[in-house]
Symmetry: C2
Subunit: 265 residues, 2 copies
DNA sequence: CGGATTATTGAGGGGATTCAAATGGTGTGG
DNA sequence: CCACACCATTTGAATCCCCTCAATAATCCG
């Protein structure tokens, strides 16, 4: 509908940018004109298979990458070749904003597709122009970065101070909430136990035991070997999950919010 | 010198904003005019004693707080009243940017003075105007947020995947580098072992043992009971420290950079 | 069908925790 | 100026959560 409003011919890839448009709206980019302008600069790239890198140290540094479909993760390999997953990325998320603003940063951090993904790119040159001509756009990107920081803080807290079970439960809750926010209602989290381990700072073996505990406790489904949520409420309770750090509209949500938590703040 | 260039009377608190000016320059805010404009909107507040909150849930939500002198930390209390320190803050750092952009976020996160601090504030209303009239300012704040995210990622990685000794060593390295970046050359890190524990996700008892190990290994000074760096090189080596994530100019620095690390990236 | 990745289960070890107590340093007030 | 309280630091002992190692299913993909 957005595209129609500005009277453009629908391009063949119509719909491909819906996720990105939704993202910008959630970042409070109010101006429909600004939104349509930036969308026009997105080039849609070929699909990426699971396990392939979307952004790595060898990628050209002259463009911003946007995830349009699929699930990816930002991660880094350590000296002992263990892996830390910083964040999971969903349709609409920006993969490498840090490379645009602080190009010297995070040389080794890479983005890898976890499922089949499709991506778009915006040239850095174009972004320079867009930002100078549409200042509101900068504020939206800024919000995106702050949201990422908020997610990192929450994960830091979980890894640092919580036991394995609430930790794993929290990560699953987050993914569920983020999937909901982009209208993906599936109870299956498209993430392996290996990924959970690398994101949560646990061994795969222990994650497996925790997952089985979560199944016994009624939070996850016992029927599959995948991560399938059986009871969102039970999971959130075990995780002590407070989704406010994700800064999402409550519209779609029927999460239990702890009343006293709200009251004393 | 900056203030003189625009022909202003030097206010009584001349020099108080130097740290903030330095910060903005490090965030690549090139325009001296923009810089002077924003500095003019900073109100200097009274001093804050160690242990007192600079920003908490009861603070008015209508202003941005800037640390002008001293050391503070952004942290959050958990349900079991343990504490997670997200980041340490130094002169020039913004304490509560997140409250400006995403006011619903991180309700419970507070900023507390670790040493005697002095702070400044900018009203959110003024910030609204400043940002719309000086778009470059928004990019600088955006960079500040990305830098914070970078620091969070590094800490996440440390806590998640490294043993206690390199973990503690890394945190100390970071503080040393950040102090250097604002021209504070002291080898004493103004942080207690309790703070180190809360930042590193360790118990105080264990941090103490690690600190003693670091002293035996020649990284910290044996002469004091404070955290005093005896050998920056040794510490960085034990920490496997790569300061690039801090995005700092190398000007002031004589840190050893691992050559092969640079070569293969 | 074979190779690779993921999931699962068992056993044993270790790093960090918790509990408990003593020491040293600092500041406040009598 | 000392006494006392408070906090940070230090040390010891016992415990436990999670890890590593190892091996076996189950699943996916070409």
């Amino acid at each position: 509908m957005g595209a129609a409003m500005v009277g453009m011919m629908k391009p063949p890839e119509a719909g491909a940018l819906d996720a990105l448009a939704l993202k910008f709206r959630s970042l409070e980019l109010d101006s429909e004109a600004d939104l349509q302008t930036v969308l026009r600069f997105v080039k849609i790239r070929e699909a990426v298979s699971p396990g392939e890198n979307i952004v790595d140290t060898r990628s050209p540094r002259r463009q911003l990458t946007v995830l349009l479909a699929g699930v990816a993760c930002l991660h880094k390999k350590l000296e002992d070749d263990s892996r830390q997953i910083y964040t999971f990325q969903y349709p609409g998320d920006f993969c490498d904003l840090h490379r645009y603003m602080l190009p010297e940063l995070d040389q080794k951090a890479t983005v890898t597709a976890l499922t089949a993904c499709s991506i778009g790119t915006i040239r850095h040159d174009d972004l320079d122009q867009l930002l100078s001509q549409h200042p509101k756009l900068g504020l939206a990107f800024w919000r995106a970065s702050m949201l990422e920081a908020s997610i990192l803080r929450e994960r830091l807290l979980n890894i640092s101070r919580r036991a394995a079970l609430p930790r794993v439960a929290s990560i699953i809750c987050e993914q569920l909430a983020r999937l909901e926010a982009i209208n993906i209602k599936s109870a299956v989290i498209p993430i392996t136990q290996v990924d959970l381990a690398d994101a949560g700072g646990l061994s795969v073996v222990h994650v497996n035991r925790i997952v089985q505990d979560l199944r016994k406790l009624g939070a996850l489904s016992k029927k599959t070997r995948t991560i399938e949520v059986a009871s969102k409420e039970r999971l959130a309770q075990l995780a002590n999950f407070d989704r406010r750090y994700l800064n999402m509209p409550d519209l779609l949500s029927d999460w239990k919010i702890d009343i006293e938590e709200l009251a004393d703040s």
